[in-house]
């Protein structure tokens, strides 16, 4: 119960920061996601109450944008680029390798809550293809052999 009240307080604080204006809904959701790595259901209902927007409208926005996740994500988000340039350079092999090494499918989170694997369309750095972004860091010209070392480093950082 204690945790519940803190989620509520934190969400209220975020909503207040954006002036309790419903036009700032996406910015509010982004801040909540920044805080928790995903959108907790409880936070969404607090946002609804605070902005006087029906929860069904907030759910529409939260499910529409790919950047929002309604399921808990790991500490590091692993994004495999599947854009044209990366695809041609064999990004699908990197995806296979990551799935094997992390022992999860795309869209899932590892048991230790360290990594969430996702496939994205284009990260906007096609000249570095194939790329994988882990926790916001771009790993350029990535090869399969580098993957175990990189994952180990992130695990070490905790």
């Amino acid at each position: 119960m204690k945790k519940a009240t803190t989620t509520e307080a934190k969400t209220k604080e975020i909503v207040k920061k954006h002036g309790r204006d419903k036009s700032g809904l996406i910015a509010i959701l982004q801040d909540i996601q920044e805080e928790y790595n995903y959108l907790p259901k409880e936070a969404l209902s607090v946002v609804g109450e605070q902005l006087e927007v029906p929860i069904s409208r907030i759910y529409e926005v939260a499910t529409f944008y790919n950047t929002f996740s309604l399921n808990p994500r790991g500490r590091y988000l692993v994004e495999v680029c599947a854009g044209t340039a990366c695809h041609v350079q064999g990004a699908f092999n990197l995806k296979d390798r990551l799935q094997r090494d992390l022992e999860i499918e795309c869209g899932q989170t590892t048991k230790d809550n360290m990594f969430t694997l996702e496939e994205v369309r284009c990260l906007g750095c096609c000249s570095l293809a194939p790329v994988v972004r882990i926790g916001g860091n771009i790993h350029p010209y990535l090869t399969q052999n580098e993957i175990p070392g990189i994952l180990r480093n992130y695990r070490k950082q905790g």
Partner: protein
């Protein structure tokens, strides 16, 4: 007043009237699915397409959202319009092959399922016109349902696909749905909609079950009419 022509007929209507309303008022039939009088227009089903000719230019527009203009010439049944309408129906038919309403409309226009549009199996009868969402927001005022996801996964649902806390079980969404996608089961004492079961209220006078208790509570709260007065069905009032 604005003067214009629909299918060769001279018509005048107030400024701001939509072509669809002007046509209907003059006995010209334009097929639609989503243009329900109770809710705002959205142009979602795209069946109401007509050709609007202004000077030398003729364009295809959705008549439910196209306001009348001085001197425009509207064609609702020429070959160009019918071709577009047939294509729309082919797509609707591929999305909702089980819908009787869409099948009937298709049959009327001589549209058969097209092999090039693979039929969807997971969309049931929903054409995503959003009428249910709009009636819940605009008329009922509770906003219990909405769309979720986007693209191929887009569907109408309650938030998190769970029982909605704000739904009053009024069934307006099921009533307005043009294709009968929303399922509502009403037995004597209960009504089941969106996965939630509502208890029905029996009329204090005749004993007939007539409305969900939650709906009466909501109406009482919204209008200030005491719940006791609402506990009598419309026939006994």
């Amino acid at each position: 007043m604005v003067n214009f022509i629909i299918d060769g007929k001279k018509i005048s209507a107030a400024k701001g009237t939509m072509v669809l309303e002007a046509a209907r008022a003059n006995g010209i039939d334009i097929p639609t699915l989503c243009a329900h009088e109770a809710v705002s227009r959205s142009g979602a089903c795209r069946l109401c397409v007509v050709e609007a000719k202004k000077g030398k230019r003729a364009k295809i527009v959705t008549s439910c959202l196209y306001p009348v203009e001085e001197g425009i010439i509207i064609e609702t049944k020429n070959e160009r319009v019918l071709n577009v309408r047939r294509l729309v129906l082919q797509l609707l038919l591929a999305r909702c092959p089980e819908s009787d309403v869409i099948r009937d409309l298709a049959a009327q226009l001589g549209v058969a399922p097209q092999p090039r549009f693979a039929a969807d199996k997971d969309k049931s009868k929903c054409i995503l016109c959003r009428s249910c969402v709009r009636v819940c927001e605009e008329i009922v005022g509770v906003s219990a349902i909405g769309f979720s996801c986007r693209g191929a996964d887009k569907a109408v649902s309650t938030p998190f696909n769970e029982d909605s806390a704000v739904c009053i079980g009024c069934g307006a969404c099921a009533f307005i749905c043009p294709t009968g996608h929303i399922e509502m089961e009403t037995t004597e004492e209960t009504r089941k909609i969106w996965g939630r079961t509502f208890k029905m209220k029996a009329c204090d006078v005749c004993g007939r079950y007539f409305a969900p208790e939650d709906q009466l509570k909501y109406i009482s709260k919204k209008t200030g009419v005491p719940l006791k007065e609402l506990a009598v069905c419309t026939n006994c009032r």
